[in-house]
Amino acid sequence: MNAERFAAQFPGVQWDAATSSWIVPHEILLDVANFLKTDPEFRMEMLSNVTGVDRLPAKVKTKGEDGKETEHERPGYLEVVYHFYSVSRKQGPLVLRCRTEGRETPILPSITPLFRSAEFQEREIFDLFGIVFSGHPDLRRILMWDEFEDFPMRKDYVEPDDYEWEPTPHDAVLVKARRRQVADSAPPRHDA
């Protein structure tokens, strides 16, 4: 079967049944992608979707061999998910995931030299998640402006304090509104 051959070819690649995807170490990502692209049985010529996922550090429970649940701290990481399709063989999707080491200086190899479709999508991930793709020909912000500093799609992103008065504040906006009212100690501008 294809999947077995694939697993035999790349022993480092791990099947993740929960998400039906292959977890690929970043050292061999380009080799794996090149294999998928050129192998006559796969011929995954189209990289349809590239996207980032942010996983904060969390406590996870794992079942040991004796059936006991043990809780341990899982470090946070960023993850890039690739959806491959084969246009000529009409197969797919084949999903690869590639994880960074930690969230501080996330670096992954760029897949753009193999698949042009990743060019803008990797730029978008760089822009919104802050993953640096080494080997990308033109890595700069794409959706946010160049001077923007933070990475908005990260789960721990704090938006800048740019509250504008609105008549029906809720939740986070309400907190902001109250803070602002105390700070400014002046009536909101609509009352003026």
């Binding site: 349809s48 996207t51 996922v53 998910v81 959806h83 698949f115 042009r116 402006w145």
Partner: protein, 396 residues
């Protein structure tokens, strides 16, 4: 424009600050070049989109798209909102085709939650989806011709027909463009017999309109000379760059998700997939006209096969407190502009953990530079118009 080009001739230090461009060595830029910032407020950029174009005389030697003028981080918004709450926001992605956006999102959530869709709702989805394709393609044809200089007439004829379809959308969903019509496991409102009659009437009259439209422009000598052989997209590049939809098929790649994935009930209809030979602007234009004819054939079959009565929402579908089980799903449909996909991760909560839109408008623009290099600056407008984008989707 830069009045005094830098001595080296390298436009990298332009008015707009340093940029790192890849292809160009010092030798290639020895002459005098002109950097033009085309857009964001340009009538033919179909919204707020900018192209940094470097010209040698009138020939394009470099083109960099600049995005983000309409960016509102749709994905982040959706991650703080209930699953249903994102549905009206998907209307605002590609605001010409809200029905298919709804469909793609509903399809991905149904895949994630394991929800089925009742038979009648599937037919309704196909009908409104194909009507949306008509709306989109006829608009594209009109806009493309307006970009070519045929100001007004073809676009207004196109809008006249679109109007009739939008009236139907208003009747079934309450809004002309922001339909917010589909729900997880079905659709929101049923089609009454009168509406179905109206749709049948539109479907009957549409081929005559298409014939007229083609008589108006398809054989026009100006159109032929401006479009044929312009902006050729080679087949291999199209596949490699993830180009989808009519753009891909105009380059001769037989890849239509309605045939490949057979999502919904598309396996019940007989239709052909038009393919282009040259991959130029004219092929892309003609391909959309041909696709509209196929859509009409699908609509005819759907109207004929549609069950008279039946549920339109799966009985287990929930509006409030909808929590799909943890997992992830990637659902994609053949939108009028290309493969529109939604990649969703659920952690079992009321909000999506990760919500990603795979926007065809955005990814199809990857090849814009490749198509424009070596062409004249006036052709950039035409090539860009033939890509068919909506900035609401490209910038999200």
């Amino acid at each position: 424009m830069t009045p005094d080009a830098p001595p080296s001739g390298a436009p990298a230090e332009s008015l707009y600050g340093p940029r790192s461009y890849r292809v160009w060595g010092d030798d290639a830029l020895a002459g005098q070049f002109l950097e033009v910032s085309m857009g964001p407020h340009h009538p033919s950029t179909h919204g707020v989109f900018r192209m940094d174009v470097v010209l040698d005389g009138e020939t394009v030697v470099r083109l960099k798209p600049v995005f983000g003028y309409l960016h509102r981080n749709h994905e982040k918004l959706a991650e703080g909102m209930s699953w249903l709450g994102s549905m009206p926001y998907t209307d605002r992605l590609d605001y010409l085709c809200s029905m298919t956006n709804n469909w793609a999102y509903a399809l991905a959530v149904e895949k994630l939650a394991g929800l089925g869709v009742p038979e009648r709702a599937e037919y309704i989805r196909v009908i409104v989806g194909e009507l949306t394709r008509l709306v989109n393609h006829i608009c594209l044809a009109g806009f493309l011709l307006a970009d070519l200089g045929a100001l007004g007439t073809p676009l207004l004829y196109a809008f006249r027909e679109r109007e009739k379809i939008l009236d139907v959308f208003e009747e079934i969903s309450g809004a002309r463009m922001m339909c917010n019509y589909m729900r997880f496991g079905g659709v929101r409102a049923d089609l009454s017999p009168e509406v179905l009659q109206k749709i049948a009437r539109i479907v009957d009259r549409f081929p005559a309109f298409l014939d007229e439209f083609e008589r108006l422009v398809s054989g026009n000598e100006i159109l032929l000379s401006r479009c044929q052989g312009v902006g050729v997209l080679p087949r291999d590049l199209a596949v490699n760059a993830g180009v989808t939809g009519p753009m891909l098929r105009a380059s001769g790649v037989d890849y239509d998700l309605r045939k490949v994935d057979r999502y919904g009930i598309y396996d019940r209809f007989e239709f052909r997939v038009p393919l282009g030979e040259h991959g130029d602007v004219y092929d892309r234009y003609m391909l959309r006209i041909l696709e509209m004819r196929e859509s009409i054939s699908i609509l005819r079959q759907a109207l004929a096969q549609m069950p008279e009565k039946g549920e339109i929402l799966h009985p287990q579908a929930k509006l409030r407190n909808f929590r799909p089980k943890p997992g992830e799903a990637y659902g994609r449909i053949e939108g009028p502009k290309g493969e529109l996909g939604f990649y969703l991760i659920s952690d079992g909560g009321v909000c999506p953990y990760r919500y990603r839109v795979r926007p065809p408008s955005f990814i199809n623009l990857t090849v814009l530079e490749d198509m424009c290099l070596g062409q004249k600056v006036a052709d950039v407008i035409v090539i860009f118009g033939s890509v068919d984008i909506v900035l609401g989707e490209a910038d999200r």
